[in-house]
Amino acid sequence: MQNHLDSAIELPKGPLQRSDGYMKLLSFVVSNARKGEIMAIENYSEMVHLMPDTDAKIETVHQAKEECKHILLLEKLARRIGFDIDDTMVEPQWESIRQSFHEAVRRKDLPACLIIQDLMVESLAIGLYKVFASAANEDQETVGVAAALLKDELEHLDIGVRRIQAEMEKDADAVNDALLWAHARVMPALFEMVNQSCDFLCEEKQLNCTMVEKPSAEIDLELLKITALEHYVGMLDKANFDPKITNQLIASMASYEAPGRVSAGLEFLRKH
């Protein structure tokens, strides 16, 4: 499998000089992305027995296998560039998201499983990989890996949306209930994780991510949040959820999606 993966993505060699701060930032991002991919393997594997037919079971196992590939790619990127995969940088919210998924499986709630893994977690993953795969990023090695991962995650998102649409045709009320249940449990944790990243890096790792010399000005947490949010809203629409319901859910994110004071005119109060 390792050889197959090595040939799957060609990592170009580049002369880019990476700052210490950027390497630390990469270590943080990749450590957490890897944790998300590990969780995805566990989620997809646990979801297999809820799938309605053999084809869907096989497709789900295939999704889990692709997440294995992602882990190996991330580890390879770390080795090649020379930063650590550091478990002390992994955010604790992953555990609560995993627990919510496990609870959905225990309830035999397939729509909730699909919504958590394929809409919510994948939207965050897509936001992250899009930021790093952007044309403005001069770190070509990172761009190559992020673009490959992004392609797979977009496919997973499409599979998830198709499955949710099918569930919606069977019982729209049950799927709407599953969305309300899953949104309240998972979205605050996902966005809290992103919001706290900045504080964590500052306080625990002495890394002010706004000051780090990066190969792209677009690598920032705000853009990650916005991209993930846009994807989430878009996929809810694509999955045919009623905007009257989804608008309320997205509006409820105002309390945790962008916390903090504005401090216009009192600039010295701002943290950075």
């Binding site: 916005i226 846009e230 905007p243 509006a251 309390s255 005119g265 109060l269």
Partner: protein
């Protein structure tokens, strides 16, 4: 230590609470404030906010004023009685209760904080022999009603925009039924200072919309922008108007008063006016499509950032798009007696808008990126 009147102020770490704290420190030289703060709130950060607001308000000796402010840890809910000895030692005569939960959708937290905490504070105030209990509610506590909103306690409405308004209405009733003399203040949507536009609150109300546009619609230029912009007038009050009305109401109104702290309808701009003001200053689309009703917007067909913005701001936009009509006889009497209440007009709102625009790196980048396009468009 006991010289002067002691005031227990809750919610001092929030926007309105911090404005009330500075108002009392500036306008009531014999008042000392005891402010309970929740674990996790840094008193030093709060002091910095208050200091800057005092300086911006023209205070010449802010440090001396801040010496009249003390912090104490807010005990866990259900244990507020533990504060009783401290209230006695501090000589608390009045309570100003400003702490609230604004999370529209967390029903349990809204009930626990807006109603439960108020009940507990009322019990504490009763035990401490407090002379008056001032409750900072909201102009929208009536819920959706089809009549003018008076300065009396509300009955049950036809519906509520969110559980926030419902729990604030319930809390008002608890205050009025407590047997303690009360003052209920109902501000509408508070925005920055009318003179310089400064603002230190969270991204609520109008700032949620502005910040949402800044974050979502200022990465790329949008040729067409779809905006939910009803022609209803939006009720906004400036923070300095809020502060002046607070102080006057606190000093002058008789016990058991209710004060609607709202804008004069004739001066208030419409939601559409505010969209035009912003779009002309920043986004400058070739075309803007305005909608009177949220349901008319083709949400699945509009660009993803606009769709996300619409969803994020949907509840607040629906609330401000409702035809609210308020009585403000109490405020008009205070104004007639000399209180300065700068109305929020399009011109003064523009000051606040410009303040936000001027400090935004994202907008600066957006305007620079599209400078040529905007210059050609004239």
């Amino acid at each position: 230590m006991r010289a002067g009147r002691g005031v227990l102020l809750t919610g001092a770490s929030g926007y309105l609470g911090s404005l009330i704290a500075t108002t009392l420190l500036l306008g009531e030289p014999d008042v000392r404030i005891l402010a309970p703060v929740r674990p996790g709130h840094d008193p030093l950060a709060l002091l910095a906010t208050l200091r800057s607001e005092l300086i911006a308000s023209g205070a010449v000796a802010p440090e001396a004023m801040l010496e009249r402010l003390s912090f104490t840890a807010l005990p866990a809910f259900g244990s507020l009685a533990a504060l009783l000895p401290e209230l006695a030692a501090f000589g608390i005569e009045e309570v100003v209760h400003c702490a609230a939960c604004l999370d529209y959708f967390d029903e349990a937290a809204l009930q626990a904080i807006n109603v439960g905490l108020t009940e507990e504070l009322l019990a504490l105030a009763g035990s401490a022999g407090v002379r008056r209990f001032t409750y900072v509610s909201t102009a929208f506590s009536s819920g959706y009603v089809d009549h003018r909103i008076g300065e009396t306690l509300h009955g049950d409405p036809e519906g509520d925009p969110t559980d926030y308004t419902k729990t604030k209405r319930l809390a008002e009733r608890r205050v009025a039924e407590s047997g303690i003399a009360y003052l209920i203040l109902r501000p509408s949507i508070v925005i920055g200072h009318s003179g310089d536009g400064r603002y230190s609150g969270k991204r609520y109300g109008l700032y949620q919309l502005w910040s949402g546009i800044e974050r979502l619609l200022c990465r790329e230029w949008h040729e067409t922008i779809h905006a939910f912009a009803p022609r209803e007038r939006i009720n906004l009050i400036h923070q300095d108007a809020f502060q002046n009305a607070f102080l006057a109401g606190w000093q002058q109104l008789p016990d058991n008063s209710i004060l609607n702290m709202v804008a004069a309808e004739a001066c208030a701009p419409t939601v559409r006016d505010l969209w035009v003001l912003w779009l002309e200053a920043v986004n400058r689309p070739r075309q803007t499509v305005f909608y009177d009703r949220m349901a008319d917007i083709p949400s699945r067909a509009i660009p993803p950032p606009q769709r996300a913005l619409l969803a994020l701001a949907s509840v607040n936009l629906e609330i401000i798009g409702h035809p609210w009509r308020f009585d403000r006889a109490g405020l008009d009497r205070l104004i007639a007696a000399g209180v300065t209440f700068p109305e929020a007009t399009l011109a003064t709102i523009e000051i606040c808008q410009n303040r936000l625009i001027d400090q935004s790196a994202a907008i600066e980048k957006f305007l620079a990126k599209h400078e040529q396009r905007f210059a050609l468009a004239g």
